[in-house]
């Protein structure tokens, strides 16, 4: 927070309202709300807007920031142990299910319905219906839109006469062709592909990007993690094996230490012009237009995640060529399955908090998501917020002010729109204990595979057995029911 901004806001308010009216105009005077989130991005806008909100309503917002890797457990420990020092959190919708299981999250449905200013119609359908809701009730207020997308260097691809890759095979071809060229202009060879592959970081989501484009072709409710018939993991099949091949092949065209790169490392790498291709969330776009950090301004583009011309036959475990029947949503014969990894940061409120505090926390989240605030915040790289409202997808003065040219905006926002409106979007895993399925079993097996500790078959076996074991531990029938509920399968 800038002291200057704070002072300016404060004096402006003081001049407007005058001291005596203080108590009356402010519904939440004297209320303090402790909001927890991750450090850095996400924390920044929450903290920056807190004084404005206080000036409006009198509620003091106290932002607590912890490193991303500790956030889930920190909230859980605080609420599960009954400490309740945290009144509200901004976190991943994926975690919602665990918090709801403990009864810690406040049902926000009535509040949202009574809220005139929140403009829910403007929020992307995916976020409104999936990220914010659980079994029909609204528990979170989306503040950020998150999709995996592909980023590329327009100039490099043009110079090499290459088209923007549409499938994973093309991705590898482009990566191979561009690898080793100098793209940043410093005289050293750069890399064809940068994908975060660090263990215990945020890289396990990229596995699902590749697998999903082959396992899910019939729409969102088909799902990509488990067979909706009997909760069998969709792992022991050719799609998963091909995805593993893709990961190890792409490593050859990546930075030498790619296995130790998190998204937080690949982002500056792309922005400093050292990668021809990159997979990431929307953040790369806003970082690439930040003049302080970017060397690729005007030279980059974004596109929907590559797809596959073959999709998995769930019964045989073999890949089959796309037809109108098995890939109803294919574009030019390619089945795309954009992955709503993480699902966007959103605010949720502790059910055990004081009613007045809950109201203030809700008012704050509503304030943050209203277009007046949000449409400006999503254009700034430092916020960590990416577009999630329809009104944010058009080129506006705000985007212009942020430094994005109209052409860049068309490509970037177009890619987001393509992903957001895809009927075949992949929903992230949201069954209880999903952290163990993904962050422990999947992440560990894939990183062991990439490090050469185990081979492809052993990796498939490790994931399959690990997921089956978790199914048994938590209760297979219950998990199946919840899995189907979260993706909307019949």
């Amino acid at each position: 927070m800038r002291i200057g901004v704070f002072l300016a806001g404060f004096s402006a308010f003081a001049a407007l309202v005058g001291a005596p009216a203080f108590a009356q105009d402010k519904p939440f005077a004297g209320v303090t709300v402790n909001v927890i989130t991750q450090t850095g991005a996400i924390q920044e806008p929450l903290q920056r807007r807190a004084p404005e909100f206080e000036a409006l309503t009198g509620a003091k917002i106290n932002v607590i920031a912890v490193p991303f890797s500790d956030l889930y457990q920190k909230i859980l420990t605080d609420w599960a142990s009954g400490t309740n020092s945290v009144d509200a959190g901004v976190f991943a919708p994926q975690w919602m299910v665990d918090y709801i299981a403990g009864g810690y999250l406040e049902d926000l449905t009535p509040r949202v319905e009574a809220d005139k200013d929140i403009q829910q119609d403007d929020v992307g359908a995916f976020f409104r219906d999936f990220s914010e809701k659980y079994s029909g009730k609204t528990y979170m207020i989306t503040l950020d839109g998150d999709f995996h997308m592909m980023y590329y260097r327009k100039d490099v691809l043009e110079a090499a006469g290459l088209a923007v890759p549409k499938t994973w095979d093309e991705y590898l071809e482009v990566a191979k062709a561009t690898h080793g060229k100098d793209m940043s202009g410093d005289g050293t060879p750069d890399f064809g592909s940068c994908i975060a592959k660090k263990r215990n970081a945020q890289s396990y989501w990229f596995v699902t990007d590749v697998v999903g484009s082959m396992t899910q072709s019939k729409g969102t409710s088909q799902g990509t993690f488990f067979n909706t018939k009997d909760m069998t993991p969709l792992v022991n099949n050719d799609a998963f094996r091909k995805a593993l091949d893709f990961l190890s092949e792409s490593t050859k065209y990546g930075p030498p230490d790619e296995l130790n790169l998190d998204v937080s490392d690949t982002r500056p790498l792309f922005a400093s012009g050292r990668c021809a291709l990159n997979l990431d969330w929307g953040d790369v776009g806003t970082i690439s237009i930040d003049p302080k950090q970017s060397k690729v301004m005007g030279k980059w583009g974004a596109a929907i995640m590559p797809g596959s011309k073959e999709v998995l036959n769930w019964d045989t475990g073999k890949l089959e060529a796309c037809t109108a029947e098995n890939c109803p949503h294919a574009i030019d014969g390619v089945n795309h399955a954009p992955f709503a990894a993480f699902g966007g940061w959103g605010g949720g409120i502790n059910a055990a908090a004081d009613p007045k505090v809950k109201d203030a926390a809700y008012a704050y989240f509503s304030f943050m998501t209203q277009p007046a605030q949000s449409n400006a915040d999503v254009t700034v790289g430092g916020t960590g917020f990416n577009p999630y409202r329809t009104s944010q997808l058009g080129y506006s003065d705000l985007w212009k002010k942020a430094g994005m040219s109209e052409e860049e905006a068309k490509v970037y926002l177009g890619a987001i729109n393509d992903s957001m409106s895809s009927p075949n979007m992949i929903l992230d895993l949201r069954i209880p204990q999903n952290q163990k399925y993904q962050q422990v079993v999947l992440d560990e097996a894939v990183s062991r595979f990439l490090a050469g500790e185990i081979d492809k078959e052993a990796t498939v076996a490790a994931v399959e057995e690990g997921w089956n074991e978790l199914n048994e531990e938590v209760g297979k029938d219950e998990q199946l029911k919840l899995y189907k509920a979260t993706i909307g399968a019949k």
Partner: protein
């Protein structure tokens, strides 16, 4: 507690001060005991219970379900075995030879104790326990490092502890000997070399991540000049472990150095001078005078370091997140990761096994190395 004072009570007056003085021993020890009971014994018992149960979220809070030794079974022989113990390779000739060597060594030590000393029941049982554990760990280390095997977190931790502490000791001793020479600027070196100890381990981990960056770190041009820009320490198990060890060594060598230097400065000057006059060379002086003088300190300082080394977490966590694969994951990090993903029972079980291993190692080091070294000095 019954305290028997060495001093006889002077009079029979029953004033408060008198009472205080009479119980002074107990009162002096009491705060320490209470603090340790609250923060060590009590948590340990709770953790033991946790290690035997499964944590689950339930509406309004959480439940702990007692599941017996299931957490341990999963780690030792079940689906998590590869993680804690590792994947076993095939034993070749080299492995058998090494194992035979270790077994012979352990057997020799045991036999020497039984034959030469006066064996006691406690001593014999303790040694049998230590010997069998050492043997078990040796088999584990050899099997997982054999071709086709992958070491788990136990072997990684042992590597950090034994390799790290030995290297730090060797470097610290070497530097202390150099600094112990009659040179100018000794105090300058002493303060300068002490600095790494003051940097928070998390900070060191990030610092070494910056330094070891193959793209934009200070050594990147150098590495490129050697034409190995296509390789990175982070992708191979051994180089990644080495990196963790480098960071650890950078931080803890100063600790060894500062204490050993003090010890060397305190060695009997007159004996050294006499030996010099007699024409003894540097090595002889070291062997006959310096080493005996510093051995007790050396043993103690290694023990302190040994105890701390088992707790390593910050460096691998920040440098590599435990990767590539499982290559750099220590037991504390393993436990921490389990904790982070709600597996509180598994986390406690790993913690307990770490406690078990480090207690046996540290206690036997104390009994078999530190005590004899101190007696040797007396």
């Amino acid at each position: 507690m019954t305290a028997t004072d060495t001093m006889p009570d002077a009079a029979d007056r029953r004033s408060w001060a008198e009472w205080l003085d009479g119980h002074s021993g107990r009162i002096m020890v009491l705060p320490a005991v209470v603090v340790l009971l609250c923060f060590a014994i009590f948590p340990l018992i709770i953790s033991a219970y946790l290690a035997l149960s499964r944590f689950a979220l339930a509406s309004g809070g959480f439940t702990l379900k007692f599941i017996g030794l299931l957490n341990f079974r999963k780690l030792l022989v079940g689906s998590q075995q590869y993680h804690l113990l590792g994947k076993f390779g095939t034993f070749g000739f080299v492995q058998f030879a090494l194992l035979a060597l270790i077994a012979a060594g352990l057997f020799f030590l045991l036999a020497r104790y039984l034959l030469r000393g006066r064996p006691t029941v406690v001593g014999t049982v303790g040694r049998l326990l230590v010997t069998s554990m050492a043997m078990g760990l040796a088999v584990l280390a050899l099997a997982t490092m054999a071709p086709g095997g992958v070491p788990g977190t136990v072997v990684n931790t042992l590597l950090y502890v034994f390799v790290g502490v030995s290297v730090q000791f060797a470097l610290g001793l070497g530097l202390a000997l150099l600094c112990g020479q009659p040179i100018r600027g000794r105090n300058f070196f002493r303060v300068l070399f002490f600095i790494p100890l003051m940097v928070t381990p998390v900070g060191i981990a990030y610092t070494f991540r910056m330094l070891a960056d193959m793209q934009k770190g200070p050594f990147a041009p150098l590495v490129r000049a050697f034409g190995i820009s296509e390789w990175s320490w982070a992708t191979e198990a051994w180089s990644a472990r080495l990196m963790v060890l480098v960071g650890d060594t950078w931080q803890w060598t100063p600790f060894m150095f500062i204490v050993l230097l003090a010890a060397i400065e305190n060695q009997p000057r007159d004996q050294v001078e006499a030996a010099r006059l007699d024409g003894a060379n540097g090595f002889q002086i070291f062997r006959d005078i310096t080493w005996p003088a510093i051995a007790p300190i050396a043993a103690t300082v290694v023990l302190i370091r040994l105890i701390e080394a088992f707790k390593i977490i910050d460096l691998p966590n920040v440098l590599t997140g435990g990767g590539p694969g499982l290559a750099t994951e220590s037991m504390t990090l393993h436990s921490f990761i389990s904790w982070r993903t709600q597996d509180l029972g598994g986390s406690a079980a790993i913690g307990y096994m770490l406690l078990f291993i480090s207690t046996i190692v540290c206690v036997s080091f104390f009994n078999f190395v530190v005590r004899p070294a101190r007696r040797f000095e007396a």
